[in-house]
Structure formats: structure tokens, C-alpha cells
């Protein structure tokens, strides 16, 4: 029983159809207990193939060195740091949904949080690959850890944003994983208790940690979720802030701006929600979860997209104004006026592509009709993801390809096949994980859906109409009339 007796009829139901608690379990756990479909196998093996190509690309890079990538002295950060920032950004939506919306008590979070958090974890796993393999001599990657070593001990530089990144990303991954898994425990227990086969009983029995559903355990679980949400909220803001420090604390024109932290965070949430849309529109269709991930959910996420997209747009224009005019700094102005805004410059096209994808196109979502259109939403989510990838590409490449010494300008940079392969490989990793998740994990937070079912389920809401009307009349007679 929720604290609310009923929810306003003005609000759309969060769970459609005639459901009871058992039906919710059937709908969400049912697909786990079936054999994977043909489509699943096809998707899964395509992802594995991509992953293997990525592994081969990394093998080339480790064996022959960073020269396998088309980076050069001027463009030292190209595709791989672009991809790193892009993947980390994508992760942010999951935490926003599960943590910030929990603190804001947004009920619609319950339908999408599990999948979004899974996406966060997989995206951060992909992101982590890039800085690690970019080290070149990857067998020395542990040098980034502050441990008592035989070199003095020579410690890491705690004042360096790159080290902050190490701490930020690893903390973010750990906390997201813990938050996600603690939420999964009760749902694994549901799968375990329904299991018919021995293997499933064994594996889900291990995964559920012996969860019983005891009232005291639930009380602690609630407290844990709330505090973890409270911790994740500043954490998620800090992570992309720190990623932006990688650029902002340097003195490269185009990077050296104080607007970066909020601008990066808004962009991260923007791209993350686009990715959630891409994934969930497919998942709800394939797994028949339209009753749980409703049009209302999709619309709510589109509202976040138009909000964060507009924040990002505002940041782009502010940055352009400061960089191209207000700074009155020759180098800064050159980057903005020539390298970026001039569409005929070597990378000018990427700047305008970014502007179009991230600023212009999300404005379509001011229309309620388009927000509630599946095809438009899916198409837009892809556009936004492309746009946000280009944002990072623009920031990185257009700032460095013409440096302070014109003789070392490098106006031509295109990725090698192994650079592209590495990126495709992280797609492989991401989708391999996501396919496994969608098949073997409860994709929707079962217990959370059940806890909102009686206030926000369609069939329950329909029954509440009379109570609500009677209550309103009673209020009118007792309170309002007396007052007059």
C-alpha cells in the first residue's frame, strides 16, 4: 500500500492493461524462462562478431603500437578519446533515471530504470577501454593506481585531471554496479522461486543471495536505495564534470573554458536518454513490454531530451559568443571562427552537423504529437547519438588540428580501419552484454512496478474515479462551503 490512496486521473497510468501482481511477474519473468528466439541469436552473434573484430583491432594496436591508428603529432587525441567521452556520456542517463528521478519521486522511473542502469554499466565498461588501450603500453596500466611501489615510491599526480578521471570512472562504475545489483536481488529471488529447472534454481539461487522478502530486509533495502540514490546524484554530475576537466584545465584554445562542466553534464544526459530510447523502443516491442514501457514513458523521456538538448544548444551558442567574439583572444577566436564555424574549413562540416543534430532537431519534440510517435522518436534518438558523437569530435579535433605552430598543422585526419574497428568492438561489447541482460535478467524492476501498481495501474485507476469524485465533493461540502 502506497502512502497515496490514489493518484490523480489527470496522470496517465504507468502500467497499462488489466494487471495484478502475479500478471506482472508473468509478463516480466516469462520471457526469461523461454528459449531465446531466432532474432535474439542473430543479434547476439552479430554483436559477438563485432566484439571479436574489436579484439583483433586491439591486438593490432598492442602488438604494433599506437601507430596502427592515424593519430599524429598534432592530433594526439582523435577517435578514441571522442569515443571515450561519448560512451561515458551515454552512461549518465541510467543514473539520472535511477537516482535523480528517485529523489524527485518520479513514478515513471520504475518502468525504465533497470534497463537504463544496465545500459550505464555496459556503457562505462566500453568507455573504460579507450583510455586504457590508448596508453599504448597497456601492461603498465596499473601505474595509474596509487600503490606503494618500488619506484621510490613515486606516487601518481593527484593534481592531474587525468588521474581524477581514473577515480571518477572507477567509482562511478562501482557505485552503479552496486546500486543496480542491490535492486536486482529481489527480482532474482522471484525468478529463483518460480524456477522449474535445476540449473535455473542453482544459478538464480546464487544470484539472489538468499533473498526472502523479509520486512526488515525491505526496510534496509529502501534505506540503502535512497542513500545510494543520494550519493549517485552528485556522483553522476561529478563524473562528467571531471571528464570535462580533462579539456577545460588545459590551455588549448577551444578547450580552456569554464562553461564545460555544466555543458558536458547536460550533453551527457541528453545523449544518454537518446540511447535509452533507441534500446527501449526495440526492447518493448520485441519482449512485448508495451504495457510497462508505455507511450507515457517515451513521452517523458522525450521531454528530458528536449530540455537537455536546449540546454546544450544554449551552451553551444554561449560558447560560440565567448569564443568567437567576447574573449578577444586571437587563438580562441581563430578556433571558433575558422576551425569550427567556417563550414568550408576542413572540419567545418562536423561543427554544423553537430549543431543540426543536437540543437535544431530535438526542437521537434515541442510537439506532443511527435513526442508520442514511435518512429519519430527512434529516428531522433539515432540522430541525437550521432550529433553527440560529433560534439566530442568537434571539441577534440577542431581544437588541436591547427596548433600554435602552422608548420605542424594537420588538416587531414581520418581514422584507420583499426581505430574504427576498436569503436565497433565496443559496440559489440555493449550489445553482447545488453543481449545477455535482456534474455537472462528481469529487464524491468519487478518489485518497483508492483509497489506502484495499485496507485498507477490502469485498471486500478479506473476504479478510483468514483472515490476521487466523492472525495472531491466531500472536500467541497465540508471545507469550501464552510469557509464562505
Amino acid at each position: 500500500m502506497s502512502l497515496l490512496k490514489y493518484e490523480s486521473q489527470q496522470r496517465e497510468p504507468l502500467v497499462d492493461g488489466d494487471k495484478n501482481y502475479h500478471q506482472v511477474t508473468e509478463d516480466i519473468i516469462g520471457p526469461i524462462e523461454l528459449k531465446p528466439t531466432r532474432l535474439w541469436y542473430i543479434g547476439f552473434w552479430i554483436s559477438v562478431a563485432l566484439l571479436l573484430f574489436g579484439v583483433y583491432s586491439i591486438y593490432r594496436e598492442v602488438t604494433y603500437g599506437i601507430g596502427q591508428w592515424n593519430l599524429n603529432k598534432t592530433i594526439g587525441w582523435g577517435w578514441d578519446i571522442t569515443n571515450f567521452v561519448w560512451w561515458v556520456g551515454i552512461g549518465h542517463a541510467g543514473t539520472l533515471i535511477s537516482a535523480i528521478l528517485l529523489l524527485f519521486r518520479q513514478g515513471w522511473r520504475t518502468g525504465v530504470n533497470r534497463a537504463a542502469e544496465a545500459m550505464t554499466i555496459f556503457a562505462v565498461m566500453c568507455a573504460g577501454q579507450f583510455p586504457i588501450w590508448h596508453m599504448g603500453r597497456v601492461w603498465m596500466a596499473f601505474f595509474v593506481l596509487p600503490y606503494a611501489n618500488t619506484r621510490g615510491p613515486l606516487w601518481v599526480n593527484f593534481n592531474s585531471p587525468l588521474l581524477w578521471d581514473v577515480f571518477a570512472i572507477s567509482t562511478y562504475f562501482t557505485v552503479s554496479l552496486l546500486f543496480w545489483y542491490s535492486g536486482l536481488l529481489p527480482d532474482f529471488a522471484t525468478v529463483r522461486d518460480r524456477a522449474k529447472t535445476k540449473l535455473r534454481k542453482l544459478l538464480y539461487g546464487i544470484a539472489a543471495f538468499g533473498w526472502t522478502g523479509s520486512t526488515k530486509h525491505w526496510q534496509r533495502h529502501e534505506s540503502l536505495s535512497l542513500v545510494l540514490a543520494g550519493l549517485s546524484t552528485p556522483l553522476v554530475l561529478s563524473v562528467h564534470t571531471i571528464v570535462s576537466f580533462d579539456f577545460a584545465t588545459s590551455v588549448i584554445p577551444g578547450w580552456h573554458t569554464t562553461i564545460f562542466p555544466p555543458y558536458f553534464v547536460a550533453g551527457a544526459i541528453f545523449s544518454g536518454f537518446a540511447m535509452v530510447q533507441t534500446l527501449l523502443i526495440v526492447v518493448r516491442k520485441v519482449m512485448n513490454l508495451q504495457d510497462y514501457i508505455t507511450m507515457g514513458h517515451i513521452e517523458a523521456m522525450n521531454k528530458v531530451i528536449v530540455l537537455t538538448g536546449s540546454i546544450v544548444g544554449c551552451a553551444y551558442l554561449t560558447e560560440l559568443f565567448i569564443g568567437a567574439y567576447y574573449s578577444q583572444n586571437l587563438y580562441e577566436m581563430y578556433v571558433f571562427q575558422e576551425n569550427r564555424a567556417n563550414i568550408f574549413s576542413p572540419y567545418g562540416w562536423s561543427y554544423w552537423l553537430m549543431m543540426f543534430c543536437n540543437v535544431v532537431s530535438p526542437q521537434l519534440f515541442w510537439s506532443r504529437k511527435l513526442r508520442r510517435n514511435i518512429a519519430v522518436t527512434f529516428f531522433m534518438s539515432i540522430i541525437v547519438n550521432i550529433g553527440m558523437w560529433y560534439e566530442r569530435f568537434v571539441i577534440i579535433v577542431t581544437s588541436v588540428y591547427r596548433d600554435f605552430l602552422p608548420s605542424s598543422w594537420s588538416t587531414y585526419y581520418s581514422p584507420s580501419i583499426y581505430e574504427i574497428g576498436f569503436y565497433l568492438g565496443t559496440f559489440g561489447l555493449f550489445f553482447t552484454c545488453f543481449f545477455l541482460f535482456a534474455k537472462y535478467f528481469p529487464v524491468i524492476a519487478l518489485a518497483e512496478i508492483k509497489s506502484i501498481l495499485k496507485t498507477s495501474g490502469e485498471n486500478y485507476k479506473a476504479k478510483m474515479t468514483d472515490i476521487e469524485r466523492a472525495d472531491a465533493e466531500k472536500f467541497y461540502i465540508e471545507e469550501v462551503e464552510h469557509a464562505h
Binding site: P146, T190, L202, G210, T215, K216, H217, R220, E222, V227
Partner: protein, 196 residues
């Protein structure tokens, strides 16, 4: 660890609105509720059962300040005592630059510590097995287990639960607590095991 073998009267409810008054009445009648198992967190049930508030968040705060202190003392020791680096003649004690790592460690310590404490308090770990009074307690039933002493008349308790609105009632002899086990193997009570 297994907490001994006891007898329970178990009543399963299918509606939380029936469960609440039942919990109140059972407590008023003086029976001892061992636990109520629910498929989702039922708000207010802990108060109805008279369970005290959890202090898990306090533990979380303590872990958090442990993280803060660890980060600050360690970094300042490294940069002012153990290996002071001259970075452009800037101060060795560069507090603003340490804020990001200090913050991250605060969050990390708090989150990891709280989750471990949570698992410890609730006896949750891989390969931990417990007695489940009803398999549908994680699906759609709210399962109340009433502990019987030697003096309790279980027929009386069963009737009581019947009147309180329980859909399914039975008597179970079970071990409380936890033990190391697998869920694909049937549970045996300690006294049925050879060598007991």
C-alpha cells in the same frame, strides 16, 4: 547460521489492504510475528509490525567521512611529506585540486561500505540459503509467519488467521537463520541429517 528448529503457523494474504489490519490484530492478540515476507516493499508495514527504524544510513555517513579523511590524509601526506613535487612553484598543499578525488572516495567508501553492511545485516551472499515459507512470497503473496512456543495452540492461531483474512494457512517446522546451501537441492532439517 541456522537459528534452531521452530514451529510456525504461516498465513498467506493476497492483498496488502487485508494484511495491515491482520498484522495489528495478531500483535494485539499477543502472538509473536516471526516475520512478514512481501514481494515488494510495503510502506508502513515495518511500523505496523513495530520494527525499529534502520540505522543503515548512519553507517553510510560514517563510511563517507572515513573516505573523506582517508583521501585527504593520504594525498596530503604524499604531497607534503613523502614525495613533495614542485609543480610550477605552486603550493604543495593544493587543497582545491584534491577536491575531486576526495569527493569520489567519499562516495566510494560510503556506497561500498553500506552495501557490505546491508548484506551482512540481512545475511545476503552467494550460496546462502534460507527457509522460504511460501514460494510465492516473492511473486504475489504476503506471507506472515507466526512463531509458536510450547504453549501455543496452533489450531487457535490458524483460526485466528482464517478470520483475519488469510487465504492459505499451514503449519511448518523450519529452521530459522541461514546456512550455506544451493537452491537446486532440497532442504533438510538439521535433525533429519545423519549424525544429528
Amino acid at each position: 547460521m541456522a537459528g534452531g528448529i521452530k514451529k510456525f503457523v504461516v498465513g498467506s494474504f493476497d492483498d496488502e489492504a487485508v494484511l495491515f489490519p491482520a498484522v495489528k490484530n495478531v500483535r494485539k492478540a499477543g502472538y509473536k510475528i516471526h516475520d512478514v515476507y512481501t514481494p515488494f516493499p510495503v510502506h508502513g508495514l515495518d511500523h505496523a509490525m513495530g520494527i525499529r527504524e534502520t540505522s543503515l544510513h548512519t553507517a553510510g555517513f560514517i563510511y563517507a567521512i572515513t573516505g573523506t579523511t582517508t583521501a585527504l590524509t593520504f594525498i596530503s601526506w604524499v604531497f607534503t611529506k613523502d614525495w613533495p613535487l614542485n609543480i610550477g612553484g605552486k603550493p604543495h598543499f593544493a587543497l582545491p585540486a584534491w577536491i575531486p578525488i576526495t569527493f569520489e572516495l567519499t562516495v566510494l567508501f560510503s556506497a561500498v561500505g553500506m552495501v557490505l553492511t546491508f548484506c551482512y545485516l540481512c545475511n545476503l551472499a552467494p550460496f546462502v540459503k534460507k527457509h522460504h515459507f511460501h514460494p510465492r512470497a516473492t511473486d504475489d503473496l504476503f506471507v506472515m509467519a507466526i512463531e509458536c512456543s510450547d504453549k501455543t495452540d496452533d489450531n487457535e492461531v490458524q483460526n485466528f488467521l482464517q478470520n483475519a483474512g488469510a487465504k492459505e494457512i499451514n503449519v511448518q517446522v523450519a529452521e530459522t537463520g541461514w546456512w550455506i546451501g544451493r537452491y537446486d537441492k532440497e532442504q533438510k532439517l538439521y535433525r533429519d541429517e545423519p549424525g544429528y
